[in-house]
């Protein structure tokens, strides 16, 4: 069962992403929450593994489904694309009522949404995988990390991986 703080954080992330023009599908929410957790060091309580489009949390996946099931989130269907999340009226009320639970995470939520709002999934995969590798081997220099990104995701070229690592570094600073 998802707790209120996690629910509010996920809802706020969806809301912020949409506010920044993001598609706000599951991949977008997954990567944004990963950055919130690892880059902004806001404890989301979700465990991430490296999955289809980079870091992914099964717990977050289950929580999103739970929020759909209890009517706080809804899917906006735009064939043939994957669904977009949006807050329902009940979800908006819930978020307003419990917004105090977000506390100090609010600026970080806004920042992550600004970073990712205009980005497509291919970019999100590169950035999130680059962050994954930076965390996995912080002592390595960037060319080594870029080769590791390429090794984990062979469709990401070493050049693109280098650029993603550099972007992540900029975000960090």
């Amino acid at each position: 069962m998802i707790d209120i703080t996690s629910a509010v954080t996920v809802l706020a992330m969806v809301d912020n992403l949409r506010g920044q023009g993001s598609w706000a599908g599951e991949t977008h929410v997954q990567k944004a929450m990963y950055f919130l957790d690892k880059e902004c060091e806001i404890q989301t309580g979700f465990d991430f593994i490296l999955y289809k489009h980079g870091p992914y949390s099964f717990d977050l996946h289950d929580s999103l489904n739970m929020l759909l099931a209890i009517g706080l989130l809804d899917h906006e269907i735009t064939p043939p694309y994957g669904p977009r999340f949006r807050l329902t009226k009940v979800g908006e009320d819930f978020l307003r009522k419990h917004s105090c639970k977000i506390g100090s995470a609010e600026p970080s939520l806004r920042t992550v949404a600004e970073w990712f709002g205009a980005k497509g999934v291919a970019d999100l995969e590169k950035l999130a995988t680059a962050l994954w590798v930076r965390i996995e081997s912080p002592e390595e220099d960037e060319p080594v990390q870029a080769r590791r990104v390429h090794e984990l995701k062979p469709h990401i070229s070493v050049e693109d991986a280098l650029q993603a690592l550099s972007t992540v570094k900029t975000m960090h600073s």
Binding site: H28, F58, I77, P80, Y81, G120, P154
Partner: protein, 447 residues
């Protein structure tokens, strides 16, 4: 001379054939143990035909997994994959290597249930914290079966690969990373819409229980299964280059019928109130009679306990009031199980989300806690994951955009209150007289 092929006659798939190495797996002690683990626990007390075991289900799972594999790797079925998708699946380009992957998949499907406890899911809560039947399955594959893998013909199957594919990514985070191909292979077994495990248990449980709720046209479903590009995640993509298991458009209705079949099987068979109360009595009996109330997890000790040993324990305890678990053993053995006094309906929950807890408290105060058992189990029925469908224009579309059925099925619930049979009439009358007052939230009681 050693036979090159062995066959089992199966009530569902007719003939299931095995090669000599697979036969060694079947002959192993962990696999033979599955002959003595009922697939549906004590469901046979309600549906007398449901006495089938994990043994035949595991064979069936292997058979269906192989059929899926053969369909999705057929040359003309992968010919249409775009280059950037093929790039992520180098394994399917090497035709000579496909037979190796097929072997791994079949071994994994055979082994996927090795770690089941006696009576399957009924008392899984008695495993120590952090250990599930999947944990035990992995241990059997990685430890107990190692000799079989080591002595297999080259290329030898890797134990770690078999374990990964048998239990899937969610249950094997310590075996990361999974390649895209390994993920797809594990989904062939464990997938929630197309998984061979799910397909086989629905069809088999339905057949043996003597009901038709679990039927769906699995031949058609498997025939339409494909490896496809993923659904476009947003407008920056035409499709996602990450390959997924999906279906041709013509398979959508049968995919829907599988999920409906599952919903019906849960509501009519798996969550049948009498079946559930046997599970509760069984778990309570084991909690009292096993040392420290937990299952052993040493492989040797684990292997030594099957349904047979538990049934003997139940019979002994039922006949001897001095033995631990006597009361629950007697309820099972003499079929004097607790009876349903209340079932939570959706409209009750809409009025008071804690109605089950509130009525439980009321019944316990009135009749004594020892005379009340509560069951609160729910299972999501809708598909949790989107998947790609290829339409007649070769366009990849989202299943979620095509099917309301797949994603809107209600969860199946078993929210029951049971009471000792001698109190049933009084308890039912009490519930009837008091239920309305419990349909208002009693928040003051919780403080």
């Amino acid at each position: 001379m050693l036979k090159s092929s062995h066959e089992f006659r199966d009530p569902l798939h007719v003939f299931i054939r095995l090669d000599p190495e697979e036969r060694k797996v079947v002959d192993s002690e962990p696999f033979q143990r599955l002959r003595h683990i009922h697939q549906l626990a004590m469901t046979y007390q309600v549906y007398p035909g449901a006495t089938h075991r994990r043994f035949e289900h595991s064979l069936g799972c292997m058979e269906l997994a192989s059929r899926i594999f053969d369909t999705i790797t057929r040359r003309d079925n992968i010919r249409k994959l775009p280059n950037d998708v093929c790039y992520r699946l180098p394994e399917i380009q090497e035709e000579g290597r496909l037979s190796y992957w097929r072997k791994i998949l079949r071994m994994a499907a055979l082994c996927h249930d090795l770690g089941h406890l006696p009576f399957s899911h009924a008392a899984e809560g008695l495993l120590p914290n952090g250990i599930s039947h999947e944990t035990m399955t992995k241990r059997f594959i990685l430890e107990e079966m190692q000799d079989i893998w080591d002595n297999a013909h080259k290329p030898q199957p890797e134990a770690e690969l078999i374990a990964k594919i048998a239990v899937g990514r969610k249950e094997a985070p310590e075996l990361e990373p999974f390649t895209t191909w390994e993920r797809i292979l594990s989904e062939i077994i464990t997938g929630e819409v197309f998984g061979a495990d799910r397909m086989d248990y629905l069809l088999r449980d339905s057949l043996h229980a003597g009901v038709t709720y679990g039927h769906f046209d699995h031949h058609r479903l498997i025939d339409t299964m494909r490896i496809l590009p993923g659904v476009a995640q947003d407008k920056t993509q035409e499709y996602s280059p990450e390959p997924e298991l999906g279906i041709e458009l013509g398979g959508m209705q049968v995919a829907e019928s599988l999920l409906v079949a599952r919903y019906l099987m849960f509501s009519q068979v798996y969550f049948h109130a009498i079946r559930r109360i046997y599970d509760l009595h069984l778990a309570a009996f084991l909690r009292e009679s096993l040392p420290c109330g937990v299952y052993p997890t040493e492989l040797k000790d684990f292997l030594a306990i099957t349904d047979n040993e538990i049934l003997v324990l139940i019979r002994k305890a039922a006949c001897d009031p001095s033995l631990p678990g006597h009361a629950h053993a007697e309820r099972i053995y003499r079929r004097t199980h607790f009876k349903k006094a209340y079932e939570t309906m959706a409209q009750d929950l809409a009025q008071n989300s804690k109605v089950l807890e509130d009525i439980t408290r009321g019944l316990e105060e009135e009749f004594g806690a020892e005379n009340v058992l509560v069951d609160k189990t729910a299972k999501p029925m809708a598909s949790r994951d989107d998947f790609p469908i290829r339409n007649s224009n070769d366009r990849i579309i989202s299943a979620r955009s095509q099917s309301k059925v797949l994603f809107s099925l209600h969860e199946a619930t078993a929210w029951y209150l049971f009471v000792a049979p001698e109190l049933r009439d009084k308890a039912c009358a009490w519930v009837k007289n008091n239920v309305d007052s419990y349909l208002k939230p009693r928040t003051e009681c919780h403080d």
